[in-house]
């Protein structure tokens, strides 16, 4: 019983994109378990809309947007948890990863995405502006501000590793 062409194409997309998407979710959540769950959710949504998004030039771009939004939505839920719970949940990740993830959470979602797309995925300012549908000047301003906030947290950790 052969699979349909759609299923074959989705399976290839899944195999290719999983690793990259999960890594991005890890940057935004600071939790490998949560990253895995949210990546699964984003790809599930991609499959539901596959007939449409498989026609796009960049189905991964669509899935990435869904994933980033899911990660940002998850911040709100985790804000209800206590700090103690958050720390115990991320106990197996390096401190500086925890700091970056925490810093990302303090940023407006769209600015965290801009930082991830530019500094993480290596997209140009113009590409980030296109993806987020804002002027390039706005992206530059967001990047500058976001880097300062993330760098501040990393610097504080450098000075005092017991800080947090």
């Amino acid at each position: 019983m052969p699979q349909s062409e759609d299923e074959d194409r989705f399976d290839a997309f899944f195999a290719d994109a999983w690793k990259r998407l999960q890594a991005q979710a890890y940057v935004l959540t600071g939790s490998k378990e949560q990253a895995q769950d949210l990546t699964q959710e984003a790809l599930l949504r991609a499959w539901k809309h596959w007939a449409k998004i498989s026609e796009y030039d960049d189905p991964e771009g669509w899935t990435r947007r869904v994933l980033h939004n899911l990660c940002i939505q998850s911040w709100k839920k985790s804000q209800r948890s206590t700090v103690k719970h958050q720390r115990s949940a991320s106990i197996d990740i390096p401190d500086h990863h925890g700091e970056i993830a925490q810093a990302m959470r303090t940023l407006p979602g769209v600015q965290a995405r801009a930082l991830l797309l530019h500094d993480g995925l290596g997209m140009t300012v113009a590409e980030v502006a296109g993806e987020l549908r804002v002027p390039e000047g706005t992206v530059k301003s967001w990047l500058s501000r976001s880097r300062r906030i993330v760098a501040d947290r990393l610097e504080r950790l450098d000075r005092d590793p017991t800080w947090r």
């Binding site: 890890y26 940057v27 976001s146």
Partner: protein
């Protein structure tokens, strides 16, 4: 002092490398299967309550209207009915549907390759010495069996990654086991029925996704019974001779022979009356229930002689 641009960039890229997991914990096919059976854990609790309340309201309205008009509400089991050209087979309280062209084998012995696909139900109690078998890449097979004892998905030295999904109302634990080649088995365990469904081959999930609670429309797998027939005089000894097995529902009689005190028979699930014979000795009538897909050991029939 951390350089803003370089320090942050290298930090994020380090995180991206660390966050990469070379293999996804599930296959794309398993993920696709979740579209028909979503994990409820992802659904917001308030949404569940709201939807449940709405469903209760809708059912109540439909029920009251149907009772008033004397009709029953439409069945909701339509989605589990076999597709045209497919046949549903049941055992252990669950059913799966396969294309009519598939071969269906109960209590199989050695692996069998069938070009169109094979569904096996039950496990043989007879030990087979089979030659090493590597299923051809073109083969598709699904097996349904009973798992007695601990949850097979969470025991073992290194419990694998197990996901829980819902398939037509059944909670299913799922995992994929690689065979070291390009092939991998998909294993679904239904804790509520202690049933395990294993699939291997291309397109096998199309069959597995038909899993649902057994209905009377499905072809029920037969069950096996083995038992002992002994004669008690001064000492207890096995008897060789005829055993009469009567299907309590159809009154159909099966002629079975006991050899060295051992007898066995197979039949559709249901109640049976088993009568042993040992010369002029008196043998009690034994009531046995055959369960679909299962191997049952009946109590010993102890005939009393002088």
């Amino acid at each position: 002092m951390i350089d803003n641009e370089d320090g942050v960039r290298s930090g994020i890229q380090d995180m991206l490398r660390a966050g990469e997991q070379p293999r996804a914990p599930l296959t794309a096919a398993e993920l696709r299967a979740q579209v028909t059976g979503r994990r409820l854990s992802r659904v917001d609790g308030k949404l569940v309550v709201t939807l449940a309340a709405a469903a209760v309201l809708i059912v109540a309205v439909f029920a009251s209207q149907s009772f008033r008009s004397g009709n029953h509400p439409a069945s909701t089991s339509g989605s589990t009915s076999p597709k045209p050209g497919w046949v549903a087979h049941s055992a252990y309280g669950v059913q799966v549907s396969v294309p009519k062209s598939w071969k269906v084998i109960y209590f199989p012995g050695c692996p069998l390759y069938q070009r169109s696909g094979v569904l096996t139900i039950g496990v043989s109690v007879v030990p087979f010495f089979c030659p090493a078998y590597i299923p051809p890449a073109s083969s598709t097979s699904v097996s349904l069996s009973l798992t007695i004892g601990a949850d097979p998905m969470t025991t073992g030295l290194h419990p694998p990654t197990v996901r829980t999904i819902r398939v037509h109302g059944l909670t299913v634990e799922t995992q994929t086991v690689s065979h070291g080649t390009n092939q991998a088995s998909t294993i679904w365990y239904v804790p509520s029925r202690s049933a395990t469904l294993t699939g291997l081959g291309r397109g096998v999930l199309q069959v597995m996704q038909t899993l649902s609670v057994a209905t009377s429309r499905a072809a029920a797998a037969p069950g096996n019974v083995t038992g002992s027939l002994d004669l008690e005089t001064l000492q207890q000894q096995p008897v060789s001779g005829p055993v009469t097995v009567t299907d309590s529902r159809t009154r159909k009689v099966l002629a079975v022979d006991a050899v060295n005190g051992q007898y066995s028979f197979s039949g559709p699930p249901g109640a049976y009356a088993v009568q042993g014979h040992a010369g002029s000795a008196t043998c009690p009538l034994l009531a046995v229930t055959v369960r679909s897909g299962e191997n049952i050991t009946a109590p010993t029939i102890l005939c009393q002689g002088l």
